[in-house]
Assembly symmetry: C2
Homo-oligomer: 196 residues x 2
């Protein structure tokens, strides 16, 4: 006999379908915008009728919630992996963290809006979906505190980076203007807070 827990093929299949739906939702969001995405569009993309989605998600907001959780979960995963071996030079380490966030944010407008802006009116992420986001900010705060950065200055760094991302999307999406400005921005901040 085989050891270990018995695989639950039904649950696995269900989870796979949920993932398919979320992937389709991201595709649609990229095409028509996060706010104008409709259940019918998602269903069409995944080869279902719209009502069938309700076998997998109890509402449209539940889909948004899963998208939110997945987006922050993905970022957390990639971030924690990188942050485990940052440069020993604090300034360089910060630049690495910032660059990673910038690249991740800029890669997908809809995802960035869902993760970091309040553009969906009726939607509030559940506590469960919000958890990865909290962990990432917390971990970033710890790293900066260890480097001697005050919590206020940490907030300013986050504001600066989010601002550069915003300006990128607003004024030069697809261009490199703000990507080119990123390192200088961080240097300014690092100089001011006295980071080696």
């Amino acid at each position: 006999m085989l050891d270990g827990p018995i695989r639950d093929r039904v649950a696995e299949r269900r989870e796979l379908t949920r993932r398919e739906i979320i992937d389709a939702a991201w595709e649609v969001a990229g095409e028509v915008g996060l706010a104008s995405l409709t259940l019918r569009q998602i269903a069409a993309k995944v080869g279902m009728q719209a009502p069938s989605l309700y076998s997998h998600f109890e509402s449209k907001n539940a889909i948004y919630d899963e998208m939110f959780a997945r987006a922050w979960g993905d970022f957390e995963e990639s971030a924690l992996a990188r942050w485990a071996n940052l440069s020993g030079q604090p300034r360089l380490a910060v630049k690495q963290m910032v660059r990673h966030f910038f690249d991740f944010a800029v890669a997908d407008l809809a995802r960035y809006q869902l993760m970091n802006q309040r553009i969906l009116v009726g939607f509030e992420p559940t506590a469960r979906s919000f958890a990865p986001s909290l962990r990432v900010v917390e971990r970033s705060a710890e790293i900066h505190q260890a480097a001697g950065v005050s919590s206020e200055d940490h907030l300013i760094l986050l504001a600066l980076v989010s601002g550069v991302v915003n300006q990128h999307f607003a004024n030069d999406p697809g261009g490199t203007t703000y990507s080119d400005l990123l390192d200088r921005s961080v240097d300014m901040w690092a100089d001011a807070v006295g980071l080696r």
Copy 2:
């Protein structure tokens, strides 16, 4: 006989009604969010039936466009008035400009979203409505150039300020966390660019 052009009472009345509608639209936007505002809600607020709005605006986007123009027009008016007598000390002058923008932005989320973020999917401001926005940025660039600030550093300042506003709305709307951080943020930037 009286001199001067004859008043056009009809046109005046029309313009007044348009203004009433835009004011009502801002009220509704503040209540339900910029994107979920409906013509029926605006009409109800102004004491009309929804179709009657089409006597004054040719579409919903035309209403958004007028809101956009009015918002930037208002900011331009108040900004140019202040910028005419800025402090002679460059750093203080920048702080005054930034503080004014921050206060204006933070006073109204819906207005800020319309002015500075792309949250409405089908909407693009017309060239006419976009003009005040361009003039403001242009004037700001001139002032900073006169103070010896490079155009790159000017862009970084704009990013920084927009980032602080964003973090305010995202993390502490109604609070003073980011308002309190604003001066220190600008000082960091001013130190880095060597502003007196």
